[in-house]
């Protein structure tokens, strides 16, 4: 188990390195970035000085890259071009909001998807099953912004149940959380159902029944653990989906989190901020995948013993 964990940790490094390379390359390729000496857009002297210190704009490329990596290691992501704060500071102040939204959405998704998936599998081809599959299909297919727009239209504009935008009170939080969780919820429901159906067909279920165990014990004691293991492995990608979905949801609902900041920085061409947030996202996703891999290893004895 330990070797497995170490191996997964080691895989993290090339991934993050690759991310750094990509961000560096893109930052240099983007027009209007600090590296683009455009006389029409002179930057304030203080910013230029900071940029020089951080990125070493006049030095050869590979030196710049090393400097960049060094900065990253110190969590120095540069300064925003538009606002007079460092990227790290901006991220730090808005991360809690996004984190709260994300965690709420994930918990909601799990709380609904797991039981729903299990029940659908056990009551296959009944009304419950069909209904949940329809919902799951809709949730995975229709883009989140479409759902968000429709939701706003129905609940906020027409029915006036909820304020359209803002954050802070439960009334503000409910719609963004639900909309954000839908994609993951639908996906996880499908996965759980499929996994349960697969597990229930296995020979060891027949063996369990042949021992005279009541059906409930068979399902809970024998099937469930086997069925949930594959589901655990997809929580990683589901979380990744949540992270990437968050910037759309935050933008639409005007939630003051990192995601909205990200989208705004795109329109404003605030490259350091764009890059910084991207790095953060990539790091978080890699971390989520790693966590999931570890959990999976802990659950499945076939891996644990290896």
């Amino acid at each position: 188990m330990l070797t497995y964990v170490v191996r997964r940790l080691l895989l993290l490094i090339p991934t993050l390195f690759f991310v750094a390379v990509v961000t560096f390359a893109l930052a240099h390729a983007a027009p209007g970035s600090p590296f683009d000496k455009n006389p029409d857009r002179p930057l304030p002297a203080a910013t230029i000085e900071r940029l020089e210190r951080l990125y070493g704009v006049d030095r050869p490329l590979h030196e710049q890259f090393l400097l960049y990596l060094g900065n990253l290691a110190r969590f120095d992501l540069g300064s925003s071009l538009v606002r007079d704060r460092s990227v790290a500071e901006i991220i730090g102040s808005q991360l809690p909001v996004s984190a709260q939204l994300g965690i709420q959405a994930l918990l909601l998704a799990l709380a609904v998807a797991l039981p729903l998936g299990v029940i659908s599998a056990l009551r296959q081809n009944t009304a419950v099953d069909h209904a949940s599959m329809v919902l799951a299909t809709v949730g995975t297919t229709i883009p989140s912004f479409v759902i968000a727009i429709l939701a706003i239209y129905v609940f906020a504009v027409h029915l006036r149940l909820i304020p359209i935008v803002g954050w802070g009170t439960p009334k503000h939080m409910i719609l963004p959380t639900v909309v954000l969780s839908l994609g993951a919820m639908a996906f996880l429901t499908r996965m759980t159902r499929a996994s349960m159906l697969e597990a229930i067909r296995q020979d060891y279920v027949r063996t369990a029944r042949a021992k005279g165990l009541p059906e409930q014990v068979v399902i809970v004691g024998h099937v469930l653990k086997n069925a949930l293991i594959p589901v655990a492995t997809v929580v990683g990608p589901a979380t990744a989906g949540l992270i990437t979905g968050s910037f759309i949801v935050e933008s639409i609902f005007n939630v003051p989190g990192i995601g909205r900041e990200f989208v705004l920085s795109i329109t404003r061409r605030d490259y350091p901020l764009i890059m910084g947030v991207y790095l953060l996202y990539a790091f978080l996703i890699a971390l989520a995948n790693l966590a999931v891999d570890i959990v999976y290893a802990a659950l499945d004895p076939r891996i644990k013993a290896a």
Partner: protein, 376 residues
């Protein structure tokens, strides 16, 4: 009254393509402490029969439509679900074919063996654990105490099957159903497992139904053998009698197709030609008729009943017009019949040339006083 009496059992599967008559009227019995062999090709219904005995047939497609299963004086088919569950794993236990997939990969073997003990014998956790160690040692698993908390994938195939056997034995059942217990194992391990089963049967006086397609396996293990084909029993006999004096062409085919070490290497293996019948719309007459080298018209028209055979031991029954009273195969010496393949061809041609109804005797030296009447 025998330990197990099965009468007129019919188990069917209702599929989109039609109704599959997997078990089509099966009647047999097993006495206490007795080992019965249930032999036949894949798909002949032997496994379904065993599952029916414990009512483990998956219910949306499958259904036991008719019959009586009297176990220890009670009809299993009339019990309610709770009572049946009380019997499973307790009075009747089952060993399945593939130990790799039949054990739960995420539970320790201790847990899997103890389950039945805790459920049926109401042992508590530590008692069950102790008993589990005893059981594992009984089936020959070394260092049982240390391996209690290991998982199935940490055992070899043969060891896993021993675990399955320990599970089956745990509550001292009166009857164990062993469904192809050695098919998934290496040949060398097979012998060990079979030995184990034989020893256990003797020591604990447990009745066994040994299900297999391999006549070689049942030879040294059983007191009686029933041969199944297309959902029915086509021959019943004591083991020695079956091997010495089989009375059904299908059985001859099975015996002929066992590769024997004492055969000359030049001899080809002789399979039974053709394929098993369609269980959704089986032919009206004898189910084996299309593949039988000895068939007559009557075989296609009417299904033979399972009847006692003259010139055989009293408990010997077969489902064949040819070998029953007055049939054209009555005096046939099966060893001569299929000892030589060319003879088989000759017979085929001869029987094909004979008009229906006329009785002939197969060639070679038959004692002159064999009576023959008009074919049925």
């Amino acid at each position: 009254m025998a330990l197990l009496e099965v009468r007129d059992l019919y188990t069917q599967f209702f599929t989109r393509d039609g109704v599959v008559r997997a078990v089509d009227g099966v009647t047999f019995e097993v006495g206490a402490g007795e080992t019965l062999g249930l032999v036949g090709e894949s798909g002949c219904g032997k496994s379904v029969t065993a599952l029916s005995l414990m009512r483990l047939i998956p219910s949306p497609p499958g259904k036991i439509t008719q019959g009586e299963i009297m176990f220890d004086g009670q009809d299993v088919l009339k019990m309610d679900e709770d009572d049946v569950r009380g019997i499973r794993g307790n009075n009747i236990a089952m060993i399945f074919q593939d130990p790799m997939t039949s054990l739960n990969p995420v539970l320790t073997i201790s847990r899997q063996v103890s389950e039945a003990l805790e459920l049926h014998l109401k042992m508590d956790r530590s008692e069950a654990r102790k008993r589990t160690v005893e059981l594992l040692e009984l089936v020959g698993i070394p260092s049982a105490r240390k391996r209690l908390d290991d998982y199935p994938h940490q055992f070899s195939g043969g060891m896993r099957q021993r675990v399955m056997i320990a599970m089956a034995l745990s509550c001292n059942p009166k009857l164990i159903l062993a469904d192809e217990p050695t098919t998934a194992l290496d040949v060398t391990i097979q012998a060990q497992i079979l030995d184990l089963l034989k020893t256990l049967a003797r020591e604990f006086r447990t009745a066994f139904i040994l299900i297999t397609h391999d006549l070689g396996v049942v030879a040294g293990m059983t007191q009686r053998i029933h041969v199944m084909y297309a959902g029915r029993i086509v021959e019943k006999a004591d083991t020695a009698e079956l091997f010495a004096n089989p009375k059904m062409p299908y059985t001859w085919g099975l015996l002929r197709s066992i590769p024997r070490l004492d055969e000359r290497r030049k001899e080809k293996l002789v399979p039974i030609e053709g394929l098993p019948p369609d269980l959704i719309s089986p032919p009206p007459g004898c189910k084996f008729e299309p593949r039988c080298a000895y068939r007559r018209d009557v075989c296609r028209e009417q299904e033979p009943p399972l009847r006692k055979i003259p010139s055989a031991k009293p408990d010997h029954e077969a489902r064949c017009w040819g070998t029953q009273e007055g049939g054209w195969l009555v005096g046939t010496d099966w060893r001569r019949e299929i000892g030589d393949v060319s003879v088989l061809e000759e017979i085929k041609q001869e029987t094909a040339a004979v008009p229906a109804g006329a009785a002939t005797i197969a060639p070679s030296d038959l004692p002159p006083d064999v009576s023959h009447k008009e074919g049925v």
